[in-house]
């Protein structure tokens, strides 16, 4: 772990229409760190991941976000992705008629083009994908199927992990804000992601219970309420939170 900051969020205020959801939010993530943001359902945790990745429909009211020293908020969603920000989606979307292989090729070449590399030829691309897919237990047959169409929850997460492996982001956000992943899917996604944490890549986990954190151990746990972080601690904070419940914990923290 080094001291190089990857993501710096300062005084961020954001929301939908006139509704402020993120208020006075501050967070710094350094290279190689794993952070977890926990909070009750409906607190606006997903809003945070959407605002960071540039999903349309959100308003930035105030504040700065630096990503690898660049002003993140000035970049479009695709530019942010190419800069190395990856969102492991809570509910990966289906794209009928487009094979995963084609989709991966588009994604990888978009990134390569952005960072000034030439497009990969088909042979090298296939080899690369095959190699990464094998590590994650993804069959060739799955790669030929249309993007997420007819995939189980676990399979979808496996494919998200494959994309992360190929795109090599410097920061991945794992959004499980309010999904109820079954244990198998949880193991798949956490196992895959753990394998991708190389000491340089950072991870931001957004979740509402600590199940996930048993599989990926965070360096920092933040409690999110009222639009910002009300308390920060280590992994034990997650356990404390689990034991007390959000309502009591937040009440106490505010006192």
């Amino acid at each position: 772990m080094t001291n190089k900051p990857i993501l710096e969020i300062r005084n961020l205020y954001a929301g939908v229409d006139d509704k402020e959801i993120i208020k006075n939010f501050n967070l710094t993530i350094h290279e190689g760190e794993v952070h977890a943001i926990m909070g009750p359902n409906g607190a606006g945790k997903s809003t945070l991941s959407h605002v960071l990745t540039g999903k349309p429909g959100y308003k930035i009211l105030k504040g700065d976000v630096l990503f690898n020293n660049k002003n993140l908020l000035e970049l479009s969603a695709d530019e942010r992705a190419c800069e190395g920000l990856f969102l492991i989606m809570q509910y990966p979307v289906e794209i009928p008629g487009v094979s995963f292989m084609t989709f991966l090729k588009y994604a990888l070449n978009a990134k390569r083009k952005y960072i000034g590399q030439s497009e990969l030829d088909t042979m090298s691309f296939m080899k690369l994908v095959k190699n990464e897919a094998e590590k994650l237990g993804i069959s060739q047959e799955m790669l030929k199927r249309a993007v997420n169409v007819g995939f189980s929850g676990g399979e979808k997460k496996r494919m998200e992990t494959l994309q992360m492996a190929l795109l090599k982001p410097s920061l991945a956000i794992l959004d499980e804000a309010d999904s109820g992943l079954d244990i198998d899917a949880l193991k798949v996604v956490s196992g895959g992601i753990r394998g991708l944490l190389d000491g340089k890549r950072s991870l931001l986990i957004i979740t509402h219970h600590q199940d996930l954190l048993e599989y990926i151990e965070p360096d920092f746990v933040h409690v999110f309420a009222d639009g910002h972080i009300i308390k920060t601690g280590d992994k034990n904070l997650a356990l404390e939170l689990e034991a007390k419940g959000y309502t009591d914990f937040i009440k106490e923290a505010k006192c």
Partner: protein
């Protein structure tokens, strides 16, 4: 003789005066009357029987009214304000690519059309055009060995008069509809194909070069005859944007398929669609029909329609022979102010006839699109089957999509299925692609290509790649 003025016009400078003067001295260049038709026929050295047919069609056309049942709103054509004999609007041919509209060249680049072809497509007055003529000739010799005839309809009229006389107008009679009738009176050129009995055409036949090179394109006439047990795959490409303003394009394609024969007809249509405000663009009023005359005859229409300001087109199948089958695979994309009313007709006459319709419509901008299809099962068509699937995809909230299926069934043993869906590109789908680094345009292109996959797969390989690129280009600027 007929070719002469065009060769002159390709050679450059002289065209401007020479050709126009030619027309002027012989008759008024604009407008339609019997004299113009006589002139066309004379210019082409046609036999009397064809002139008589043209005049008959013309006189019938005078009694007809332009159809207004389609969901299309356009300024009516002034038929007396048109040129009817190879009078291209382009005044002077560009001498090199430097003189060609750079926007046009950009589009060619995106389509991946090689430089040499770009020259041909833009009508540059260099020998490239002659090259394409010689390409056609090389093909022809190869095909001749198998007894296949592939030539212009004008040539066919002279050299294969018996075949043309027998089949021309036998699938689309001049009385068929207003635009077909007009075409029957004034058609200038087009393609003729004859595949002899038992012959499998060894290559895809294409009109791609010829139509562009000869700069016809307003009233083409295509006639394809597949004799017993023969097979041919035919490609019609209008992949070059045409920059003319509100040009009328009223073509006829007739296909005759005899016993045990099969014809595949693929079209990628990209006539100039008009500008972003809906100004200009081609009126594409086309009649295409195939007749499966013999038992076990098969026909398949595949079309990718991205161009034209207004499209009125229903490639149809007459399933006369027993066990004959017809297929219609269509992708139609409209953007900006384009309008398309398109679909097919499946006429089941023979026993055990089958038909399949897969239509994918994509509307964006302020465009309007209608699928209009007829499935008709006649009394004698026992055990006929049809499956129809019409899917519409909307991009944005200012476009329209409509599905009008007509079903007429006179036989109780028929099984007819119809499925229809309408969907939108969701913000979630778009964001998912963007989050993986794709640009918005790439994302829309990818999603739309996925939506059309079933149809795109029916296109010959090299055509499919071109068509996929074309889809992306057509939808540029449709989001955001």
């Amino acid at each position: 003789m007929a070719q002469k003025p065009e060769i002159e016009d390709l050679s450059g400078d002289k065209y401007k005066y020479g050709f126009t003067t030619d027309i002027e001295t012989e008759s008024a260049p604009k407008g339609l009357n019997e004299d113009i038709i006589r002139l066309i026929s004379k210019k082409k050295n046609e036999p009397d029987w064809l002139l008589e047919r043209r005049l008959k069609a013309y006189n019938h056309w005078l009694t007809m009214v332009e159809p207004s049942w389609a969901k299309l709103a356009y300024e009516k054509v002034n038929y007396q304000d048109l040129f009817y004999y190879a009078a291209p609007k382009q005044k002077v041919k560009p001498k090199s690519l430097d003189e060609v509209d750079p926007e046009l060249l950009k589009t060619y680049d995106k389509l991946g059309i090689p430089l040499k072809e770009q020259e041909v497509l833009s009508g540059v007055a260099v020998d490239a055009v002659f090259d394409s003529v010689s390409v056609a000739t090389t093909y022809r010799t190869k095909l001749k060995e198998k007894g296949i005839i592939f030539c212009s309809i004008s040539e066919a009229v002279k050299e294969h008069s018996d075949l043309v006389q027998k089949y021309l107008g036998s699938v689309v009679p001049y009385t068929d509809n207003f635009f077909a009738c007009l075409n029957s009176a004034v058609f200038t050129d087009g393609s003729f194909v004859y595949i002899p009995k038992g012959v499998r055409c060894p290559m895809e036949l294409s009109t791609y070069f010829r139509i562009n090179a000869q700069n016809t394109g307003q009233f083409e006439r295509t006639l394809i005859i597949a004799d017993e047990e023969s097979y041919v795959s035919y490609l019609e490409g209008c992949t070059a944007p045409q920059r003319d303003e509100n040009q009328l394009h009223a073509a006829i394609v007739e296909i005759v398929i005899l016993k045990d024969a099969e014809v595949k007809y693929s079209t990628v249509q990209n006539w100039y669609p008009g500008d972003k405000e809906g100004k200009g663009g081609v009126y594409n009023f086309v009649t295409k029909r195939a007749a499966c005359r013999g038992d076990n005859a098969k026909v398949s229409w595949t079309q990718v329609e991205t161009g034209s300001a207004v499209t009125w087109k229903y490639p149809s199948c007459i399933l006369q022979g027993n066990n004959s089958s017809g297929e219609f695979y269509s992708v139609a994309i409209t953007n900006n102010f384009q309008q398309a009313d398109t679909g097919t007709k499946m006429i089941h006459i023979g026993k055990n006839t089958t038909s399949r319709i897969i239509s994918k419509g994509i509307s964006a901008g302020h465009s309007n699109q209608t699928y209009r299809g007829l499935v008709k099962v006649s009394k004698g068509a026992v055990n006929s089957r049809n499956y129809s699937q019409c899917d519409s995809l909307l991009i944005g909230s200012t476009c329209g999509s409509h599905t009008v299926p007509y079903i007429e069934n006179e036989n109780r043993t028929a099984v007819l299925e119809h499925e229809a869906t309408t969907s939108k590109i969701s913000e979630e789908q778009l964001f998912y692609c963007l989050q993986r680094g794709l640009s918005e345009e790439q994302a829309v292109g990818l999603i739309v290509n996925g939506f059309c996959k079933e149809v795109m797969q029916k296109l010959p390989m090299e055509f499919a790649i071109e068509a996929a690129k074309l889809i992306n280009i057509s939808l540029e600027g449709s989001v955001g």
